[in-house]
């Protein structure tokens, strides 16, 4: 059996597994047609299409996209606020216009990257939750998972900093390292809480105000 044929069969199995129970008849219909298609690129394309169709039945991608966008915007407000207050504090300096121009350039770049990072993390997290954790009204635990997904960004940065520090040849490293790890943990915990609280408020608002136009049974 060729690799493509094997992959096509795996994809078809996956499509049938993803389909919600009340739509299993349609998954069987897709599989029956799949069995009739001769081996080749067409069979593989059919299987890919079936996966997409079953995902559409399982989740609403546009709904996931829009909700992730709102959540990312909420989380993004926090660093944006911090940078804005920094920019305002610099505005009193006589050379403010030079600093502020440079600062805004850096801030806009960094924030855009951060926003994209938050959005991508949340979007992937949403898709996984829609696939594996479809139970509605689990706002608290789901918010915890979302906050953890976004928290991985500063956590990764913290880990890189700590590991760079640990590989230093300075003889006072062990003493510094303990203090440093403590500070990283403390800062990250504050960051985590700062993500969690706005997200929780956002979740409660989404749960009360957001009515999906074409929600399909999961």
């Amino acid at each position: 059996m060729s690799l493509r044929r094997r992959l096509a069969h795996r994809l078809m199995d996956h499509a049938c597994a993803v389909m919600p129970p009340n739509r299993r008849e349609w998954a069987a219909a897709m599989r029956a047609e799949f069995a009739m298609i001769p081996d080749g690129p067409e069979k593989f394309a059919w299987a890919c299409g079936c996966v997409w169709a079953c995902y559409q039945e399982r989740i609403n991608p546009m709904d996931v996209f829009l909700k992730s966008l709102v959540r990312a915007a909420v989380v993004w407000l926090w660093p944006f606020g911090a940078d804005l207050s920094h920019a305002l504090s610099m505005a009193t300096d006589p050379r403010a216009h030079v600093y502020v121009t440079k600062f805004l350039w850096y801030v806009s770049g960094d924030l855009s990257v951060m926003y994209a990072g938050i959005f991508v993390s949340l979007f992937v997290c949403e898709l996984l939750m829609a696939r594996f954790w479809a139970s509605p009204k689990r706002i608290g635990p789901k918010t915890l998972v979302r906050a953890a997904a976004v928290w991985l960004w500063p956590l990764g940065k913290g880990v890189i900093l700590v590991s760079n520090f640990a590989t230093s040849t300075d003889p006072r490293v062990p003493a510094y390292l303990a203090t440093f790890v403590w500070h990283v943990c403390r800062d990250l915990s504050i960051f985590y809480a700062a993500i969690f609280i706005p997200l929780l408020i956002c979740e409660l608002l989404i749960a009360h105000l957001w009515h999906s136009r074409s929600a399909l049974p999961a």
């Binding site: 079936c50 559409q56 039945e57």
Partner: protein
């Protein structure tokens, strides 16, 4: 304004293909060939039209041994009416476009 349902080109193509042989039961692969729609587009449309009562379906025994039963589809009376309404709308549009094109300069 909320978009009107079943207005997409893909839905119209599917309805037209089904209306070409209104009494025949057609299977998914055949419809995919007739409409040039991929399975990822075709099946969500079939599911939606079936939910809305425009399509009826049944399982038929395979003609080849060792193959699974196949799911086949055809339009209901409401589905035929919907497909014909699109056809007449397209016809009116074609006539109007033709008249406009023939207008003296």
């Amino acid at each position: 304004m909320a978009p009107r349902p079943n207005q997409s080109l893909q839905t119209r193509a599917l309805l037209r293909a089904l209306l070409d042989q209104p009494l025949a039961w057609r299977h998914g692969y055949e419809l995919s060939k007739a409409t040039k729609l991929q399975s990822g587009t075709l099946y969500p449309l079939l599911i939606r039209l079936s939910d809305q009562g425009f399509l009826e379906s049944k399982w038929v025994e395979p003609t080849q041994p060792g193959k699974p039963p196949r799911h086949v589809y055809r339009l209901t009376a409401a589905g035929k009416a919907l497909a014909r309404s699109f056809d007449s709308a397209t016809e009116k549009l074609t006539v109007a476009t033709g008249k406009w094109a023939r207008r003296p300069g």
